[in-house]
């Protein structure tokens, strides 16, 4: 009885410590890798890009423009990204009724991407919503970013 108990307790303690260490190491490894910085930087630049486009009124200025004008402008704005980055930006503009009930109707979708980029699997996505009051429009901007 004593022997069995002593063996089990010992094994449980050893296993617990081993598992805790393995988990700690697995958690530490991403922080020490370059890949972690790349992902962090991708997300950061994605948020910056959308925030600056919104702050500068660029998104709101698209309301009333033609699709070709907006798509061309989006392509030019993507040149703000560092040269080693690829981006695919999509802007959706909705008309809305502030309820009740609240309803949004998709008007148009505009898109452009960095030329010469091949889409990869590891992509970071960021989103931002914006509002225009006159005329009343709601927008959703999405940016996919990846490294060349």
């Amino acid at each position: 009885m004593t022997r069995g108990f002593a063996l089990t307790l010992d094994a449980v303690m050893a296993t617990t410590v081993a598992v805790a260490i393995v988990i700690a190491i697995i958690n530490m490894l991403p922080l020490t890798s370059v890949n972690y910085f790349d992902k962090q930087q991708l997300a950061s630049i994605g948020n910056d890009f959308l925030a600056v486009m919104d702050l500068s009124g660029k998104f709101r200025s698209y309301i009333g423009q033609t699709s070709s004008q907006i798509n061309k402008s989006l392509g030019e704005e993507l040149q703000l990204l560092p040269k080693t980055y690829c981006g695919n930006v999509t802007v959706k503009i909705y008309t809305g009724n502030i309820g009740p009930p609240i309803t949004f109707t998709l008007g148009n979708t505009y898109n452009n991407f960095t030329s010469g980029c091949i889409r990869k699997q590891e992509i970071t996505k960021t989103k931002r919503i914006f509002v225009n009051f006159d005329p009343q429009r709601f927008g959703l901007a999405e940016l996919e970013l990846w490294l060349k």
Partner: protein, 138 residues
């Protein structure tokens, strides 16, 4: 028989224990685990310092800080103000020809050595959108 089994168990447990200590020591001493993270964080803090602290305007450049720093000729004072010691710093603005006070102003000076940390931020001021690159040098 009982003593032998117990010893084996103890041996296994002690082996795991020492292996764990060895692995932890390896991560603490051998791998430069937290250093890149710390330096990168320092560069991030500089980028945040140079932009507005006003909520919602985090991507707007603070021209007063940039102008004051660019007027400072002593690299050591710039380093002290930005709290980046012991590293050298160069803050560069790209994709624009004008910004604060109508002219483009970099901070610090480029160094030929390879930077050890680099943070890119897309910023906005006076109708201009641009890249701000904060580089720290060893």
């Amino acid at each position: 028989m009982k003593g032998q089994l117990f010893s084996l168990d103890l041996f296994v447990a002690l082996s795991i224990f020492f292996a764990v200590i060895a692995i932890v020591a390896y991560f603490w001493l051998v791998m430069p685990s937290t250093r890149p993270f710390d330096i990168q964080e320092k560069a991030n803090i500089v980028a945040e310092f140079l932009t507005s602290t006003k909520l919602g305007d985090e991507n707007v450049l603070d021209c007063s800080k940039i102008t004051n720093l660019s007027l400072e000729s002593s690299p050591q004072i710039i380093k002290n103000r930005l709290n980046v010691n012991p590293y050298d710093i160069f803050v560069e603005f790209k994709n624009t020809t004008v910004m604060c006070n109508g002219k483009k102003t970099n901070i610090g000076s480029p160094i030929s050595s390879t930077s050890i940390a680099s943070v890119v931020k897309i910023v906005y001021v006076d109708g201009q959108r641009m890249q701000m690159i904060v580089r720290l040098y060893d």
